[in-house]
């Protein structure tokens, strides 16, 4: 494959004239912003719950909707972060640092406006980077063999274990539990059924979608059910949404810098929007012109994280599309959506499904445009939705989870998978085991297993095969650094402190 074959971009141009793309993207963004803005409904959960809505649709239309959800939910989280100091999604945590003080000064509209514009620019830059970086990386990835895939999968799992809040050991355990879920079903090499407990439904493995809906949707609702009593009310009037030109000039440097941070961090395995936005905010605090005023409610403090988290969306899609290795929980769920459409992400996708890949670029671009329009026009109404009583919201989402899980393969069995995953997810949340590594492990499991065993088969059982190939060795060194590095740094710091 040539590095920059223009066919890739041209083969999907006709999608621009397909009105369904616009409709799907518009509704995706709209639903995404609403769910993102509601506290407690994360972007990951939103995508998981809505995947069943996209079954009957063509893959291109389905992804126009899902990518709209993705961009919309990541952006929507900022609305509640600004208005009530509760980030709607984890990636909006940094936004509340300056967004909420602005809101307290009566400048909520201004903050939402800045957030919308910054998210739009960040999202736009990420589409551009995705368009050029993804085909290049895919052409490199074509040369990867089974050993390299083993290495990349291990990087993904170890990074997500490290960055998940709490103990790294718990993160790793979650990842292994995900891999264990992945062994249910027919052995890919010998054809022997494993752990199917006599159920024909399990022959092809546990369906990832009901598990994801259970872990993210159902278990989150079970957690929230114990504290539904309070109602949030936003009384503030939202005005001055469209920022004046001088404000735009003031933030443009911040926005571009943060967008690049966002794209790069998004593209790293397992580091998604929440890390990107925190790092961008941190950079602003160190290098920004008004670093001393950060935290008091200045527009740079909203612009930096919001540009970064939306910029990370395109970045996070790069490893998912080109290698078939999702960068974080959100893209893992999106990958689940691809797989049920019969599409296997990876370098071959770029050769065999050019129009589809091309349509992904277009969908992401459309979602950025709609995000800007919907954000600026609709902010007033979304602010009112934040007060929507949870006693109506929780039952509605639970029914979506139940019906959606059934609809994946018209099977009641999947409802049971959903309920069990929901309870397991709830227990894990209560024991502070992170959920994201399970989802990643489960999605990566089959791929990891077949590559791992294939490598060993070809090398006739010689484990050295993983360190004999230079790229594979490099990946394994990264894994070791990721897992051991933080520990060594900690010791090192302690030693320095003691030395002083």
């Amino acid at each position: 494959m040539e590095l920059f074959s223009f066919d890739l971009y041209l083969s999907g141009l006709h999608f621009f004239t397909n009105p369904l793309m616009y409709v799907a993207s518009f509704f995706g963004v709209l639903v995404g912003v609403v769910f993102g803005a509601l506290p407690g409904l994360t972007a990951t959960m939103t995508i998981a719950v809505f995947i069943p809505f996209t079954f009957g649709l063509a893959p291109t239309i389905s992804f126009a909707f899902l990518l709209g959800l993705y961009s919309g939910a990541v952006y929507g989280g900022s609305i509640s972060a600004i208005l009530i100091n509760i980030p709607g999604t984890p990636s909006a945590i940094a936004t509340s640092l300056d967004g909420y003080p602005m809101s307290q000064q009566g400048r909520a509209g201004e903050a939402i406006g800045i957030s919308t514009i910054s998210s739009t620019i960040g999202g736009f830059l990420s589409v551009v980077v995705l368009m050029f970086a993804a085909p290049a990386i895919a052409s490199i990835a074509l040369k990867f063999s089974a050993e390299e895939y083993v290495g990349i999968t291990l990087i993904g799992l170890s990074v997500i274990a490290i960055i998940s809040p709490g103990s790294t050991v718990k993160g790793l355990i979650s990842g292994v539990i995900g891999l264990v879920i992945g062994i249910v079903g027919i052995d890919p090499i010998t054809g022997f059924p494993r752990f199917i407990m006599g159920r024909a439904e399990l022959l092809e493995g546990i369906d990832a979608i009901p598990v994801m809906i259970g872990m993210y949707g159902l278990s989150e609702m079970l957690v929230q059910i114990s504290d539904v009593q309070y109602t949030l009310v936003v009384k503030q009037k939202i005005s001055k949404l469209i920022p004046p030109l001088r404000d735009l000039k003031r933030i443009i440097g911040t926005v571009i810098r943060s967008s690049f941070i966002g794209v790069i961090i998004g593209a790293l395995p397992a580091a998604g929007g929440s890390i990107a936005s925190l790092v961008a905010y941190g950079q602003e605090k160190r290098f920004g012109k008004r670093r001393d005023e950060l935290g008091t409610g200045i527009i740079e403090g909203v612009a930096a994280p919001e540009a970064a988290n939306n910029a990370s969306t395109g970045g996070a899609l790069i490893p998912m599309l080109t290698l078939g290795i999702p960068g974080d929980a959100m893209t893992a769920v999106l990958m689940g959506g691809l797989i049920i459409q019969g599409l296997r992400p990876g370098p071959l996708l770029f050769q065999q499904q050019m129009p589809f890949v091309s349509s992904i670029f277009i969908s992401l671009l459309l979602s950025v445009v709609f995000m800007c329009i919907i954000g600026l026009v609709g902010a007033k109404y979304f602010a009112k939705l934040i007060g929507f009583p949870k006693k109506y919201l929780i039952p509605a989402i639970l029914v979506f989870c139940l019906v959606g899980s059934y609809a994946i393969s018209n099977s009641i069995f999947d409802i049971w998978v959903l309920i069990i995953s929901g309870i397991v997810g709830f227990a894990m949340r209560k024991l502070s085991f992170p959920i994201a590594p399970i989802v990643l492990g489960m999605i990566l499991g089959p791929l990891f297993e077949s590559n791992f065993r294939r490598s060993l088969m070809l090398s006739e059982g010689n484990w050295a095969t993983f360190v004999q190939r230079p790229i594979s060795l490099g990946f394994l060194i990264v894994v070791v650094l990721v897992l051991v590095g933080p520990m060594i740094l900690k010791r090192f710091n302690k030693a320095i402190i003691r030395g002083n």
Binding site: F55, G56, L179, S226, Y392, P395, V403, N410, F452
Partner: protein
Amino acid sequence: MTRKRSDIIAGIVLFAFSGLLYIIAGFMPTRQGSVQALNTGFYPRMLAVIMAVLSMLLVLETVRKQGQETRTTTPWWKTKSAFTMFLATLVLLVLYPFVMKLFGFATASFLFITTLVWLLTEKGQAKPVKILGIAVAITLVVYIVFKLVLAIPFPMGLLI
């Protein structure tokens, strides 16, 4: 139960689970003389070993943590209303597939939403008309999306 104790228990349970996984994987067919990785039980066994090591690390890590942390808030299962709500929701969830098979998915959804909204509403504040109205509205959305637009074949119940 403190976090420390629950972590140790979790570690032990996971260790037992990996032992079980290891034993079951041993019953899977093997081929004499060929590469081990070809055997069906090889990969599950490998995961079992990794999990066993990690669960022991969890126990060690927890034991080594200095100082017993004290829990300031009441655990969720001890506040009566939270626990009752949790149990009630679980019961409703488990009943859903049965009601769905018997009466159809729209009826099941309607009953599920009505009951749960009613349970979540503070005592004395329940307005039956409003609750029923909301339940009908949500059920309608689900019905239109899944039955009419996506044409999912739901089990034929006695009702809809």
